[in-house]
C-alpha cells in the first residue's frame, strides 16, 4: 500500500501566508482536492507544486480564479500536445535515414 503525504490546509496557509478562503475557492473550482479528516482539511503533497503555481498566479500576477482555471486548461493542452509531438517525432524517426 502506498502512503499519502498530507499537509494541513491551515499549516500550508500559515507557511505561505495565504488566505484560507483562497484554498477553498480553488477546491470549489475543482483545481485542487482537499481531503477532510475529522473536520480538518488536508492537501496531498503531490498537489503542492501545482498549488504553489496557483498562488503565484493569484498573488503575484494578479490573475483571478477564472483566469487560473483557463490557464490550467491551456497548460494541460500544451502538455498533451507536447506529448503528442514527442510520439510523432518518434514515429518520424522510422523514416529517417542514418548516416
Amino acid at each position: 500500500m502506498q502512503s499519502e503525504y498530507l499537509i494541513a490546509v491551515e499549516e500550508f496557509c500559515s507557511i505561505h501566508n495565504v488566505d484560507i478562503s483562497f484554498i477553498r475557492s480553488l477546491k470549489q473550482t475543482g483545481l485542487i482536492e482537499v481531503t477532510t479528516i475529522k473536520e480538518a482539511g488536508f492537501i496531498n503533497a503531490a498537489q503542492l507544486q501545482q498549488l504553489e503555481k496557483f498562488i503565484r498566479f493569484y498573488y503575484e500576477l494578479d490573475i483571478n480564479l477564472e483566469g487560473i482555471e483557463t490557464i490550467t486548461h491551456l497548460l494541460q493542452r500544451i502538455s498533451y500536445m507536447q506529448e503528442e509531438i514527442r510520439m510523432l517525432k518518434n514515429r518520424l524517426r522510422l523514416y529517417e535515414t542514418n548516416e
Partner: protein
Amino acid sequence: MMLSYVKPDNPGQACSFFLNIILFCHLPFIFEGRNPYYNKTVMFIDYYKILGINRTATPNEIKGAYRKLARKHHPDLHPNDINAKKNFQQINEANEVLSDPEKRRKYDQYGEDWKHADEFENAKQYHEQSSNRRGQSYSGAQSQGDFSDFFESMFGGATNGGRTRQVKYRGEDYNAELHLNLTEAYKTHKQTLTVNGKNIRITIPAGIENGQTIKISGHGGPGINGGPDGDLYISFSVANHPKIKRLGDNLYTTADLDLYTAILGGEITIETLDGKVKLKVKPETQNGSKIKLKGKGFPVYKNQGQFGDLYVTYAIIIPTNLTDKQKALFTDLSKS
C-alpha cells in the same frame, strides 16, 4: 563526457533550470559547480529598454510595464521554454533595480560607467544595508544565480526575495538530458550521477523511450526558508540505431536476401539488439515482404519480461556481374 548547462532561472519557484548533459556510454556524469559565465565580459544592461519604458517613467509606469511583461513571460506559463525563463529573469532584474528608488538612482547615475570601483563598493555597502528592503518582484525567493553579472557587479548580488512575505519555497526543479543509444535503452542499467556534489545512483529501466522524462524526487535544488527540496527531471534522448528502428515497443529492421535463397528458401542470420537470430526463409519470398518475430522487439517499459515484436522486411539483392554461363542459364529460365 561532455556537459553543458545554462544559468538557473527563478529558483524557489517550482520552475527549473535546464541542464544539458551529453553522456558517452558507461561513464558517470556530473553536473555541478557555479556559474560558468562568471568570468565572461560583463556587459551593460539597459533596464529601461527591457521594460520598454523611457528614463522618465514614473513608479506606476514601471510597475505597469513590469506586470504586463511578467504575465507574458512568467515561466509558469511557458513550461520547458528556456527562452521565456531568460526573458523573465531580465524583466525581474530590471524591475528589481528600477522599482527601488535607491537602486534606480545609482543605476541612473553610474549605469554606463559601472566599472568604477568606488561606486561598486558603495553599491555593495548599500546592498548589505538594504537587504531587508525589497522592491516588488514576481520571482519569489531568488538566489544569486538569478541575476546577471552586471547586476551582481553593481549591486553585489541578489536580494533573497522579491515578495514582501517571508515564504517557504520548494527548491527549484532541475532538468537534465541524458543521451543513450538504443542498445543501452534496451537493458535495465544503473548510472551514477553527481548533482551538486551529491552522488545519486539511479536505475534506468529497460524500454525507456526517446523524449521520456523521469522524476527523481528530492534531488533538485534545496528548499528555501525550510521548504522541501525540488525534484530532478531527467529527459532521455535515445539515438537511432544504424540498422534497427523503434516505434513504441516494436522494432523494425531490413534483412538482405540473396536471390537464390528468396526463390528456393533457406536460412539467414540477422542481428537483433539481443544478439544474432537465425531465420528460416520460405521459398518464393517476395521482395519487401515482412515477417514478424514475436517477442523479439523492445522491452516494455516497467513490465519485466514483456517485449514488443520485431518486424523484418526482406530486401532481395539481385546478383550483378553475371558470367556468360549464368546469363545463359537465366535466359533459359526466362523461356521455360
